[in-house]
Symmetry: C2
Amino acid sequence: MNDASKARPMAQNIYDSPEFFENYSRLGRSVEGLEGAAEWPSLRALIPDLRGLKVLDLGCGFGWFCRWAAGQGAAHVLGLDLSEKMLTRARAETPDTAIAYERADLDRLELPEAPFDFAYSSLALHYVADAGRLLGQVRRALRPGSEMVFSVEHPIFMASARPGWSVDEAGNRAWPLNGYSVEGPRTTDWLAPGVVKHHRTIGTWLNLLIGLGFEIRHVEEWSPTDEQLAAHPEWAEERDRPMFLLIAARLKD
Amino acid sequence: MNDASKARPMAQNIYDSPEFFENYSRLGRSVEGLEGAAEWPSLRALIPDLRGLKVLDLGCGFGWFCRWAAGQGAAHVLGLDLSEKMLTRARAETPDTAIAYERADLDRLELPEAPFDFAYSSLALHYVADAGRLLGQVRRALRPGSEMVFSVEHPIFMASARPGWSVDEAGNRAWPLNGYSVEGPRTTDWLAPGVVKHHRTIGTWLNLLIGLGFEIRHVEEWSPTDEQLAAHPEWAEERDRPMFLLIAARLKD
């Protein structure tokens, strides 16, 4: 992939900072893979039949989805990530020759025209400063009729200046939302200090896609099912404010 | 319109309670009409050319939009509302014979097939208990290719058990969000005690429309423009948590 457009600032490579990488590697989703991610069943339900498709994974991390896609019969899977450490582990754990990993900065990425039939991204696009530019590149890289399924941190979760629960005298838990309509960078201390993410509203995500010629297929503000809640009572807070936003869209013919 | 399906519970008719009606009648949007509604410029921008179209307005209130639509050249406008008091004033202020007002409960409404070319609703559909049923009726009433534009109270605004600002020791304002993923009735004291609204997430609104064969055209979580904020500095809080959700959709051919 060509990311030679050096005029654009490079994205923060927080995943390669030793502290962040070590803490990230301990998360359920890093140890157990897709099944360790609470939102994976919802995301998986949006993914079309991948048999014979050429698949693009933006922010592939350790390569869990790339390997799953190949296991579903994808003809070719390209996983892109900025983190050398994650790509090193991904390559070491991937014997499948239908999968290729490349280092790429999603803020600078330029993709060739229409070699892919499906685009996927899990919790990566909120690190991108110019989502419109990147989605334009994804549109360019997809054949007409292709689908895109992605998740981002939910704007309700990301907007707040003080992203943590408040509890009043009566013990009622609430998420102190502010700045929802003020889009732009948010710096938080998640796994390491100074992690930079980029907040945009649900409306902005959807209107960007619509403006590029995608048709919205499904929008899910993830919360646990009753079964998940029975197994993980600590997930109840996810029903008070969503943490994940899942979107499925189809590039029109 | 036929609302004879008596098995369904009738909606709360709060607008006809004397206290609510008197307070509602004093709001800017009741005195000044569309121009008194902060979100109207954003809503208007989503409305197609109405010339020659048959227009349906769900929850027409005092008839401001019906008269505007007729002024834009709509061939016929049908305004529906549950409130006798609002319809009485609407009829008194509407000499235009292209406009008809009928009393209807949106929770029981049954519409005929395809007589309309455009459907509109302003801040009414969040009073409806079964939005899927009502949107199905709207779909039935629209010719293929027709557009629908509507606003509802934003789910972020409606979800909270304690919908009011909290301010911490440092003076930071926050909206205490909870129960976002718990859909269903919310009872608040707005203009009168015990007003019942029905909360559903953005995802639910959009997936209902998509499932019925609508294509999402635009989603806007309204916040004031810089110009509006200069004229109304007190609207700054609307950038901290949105109050209105605006959706434009098109019934596929």
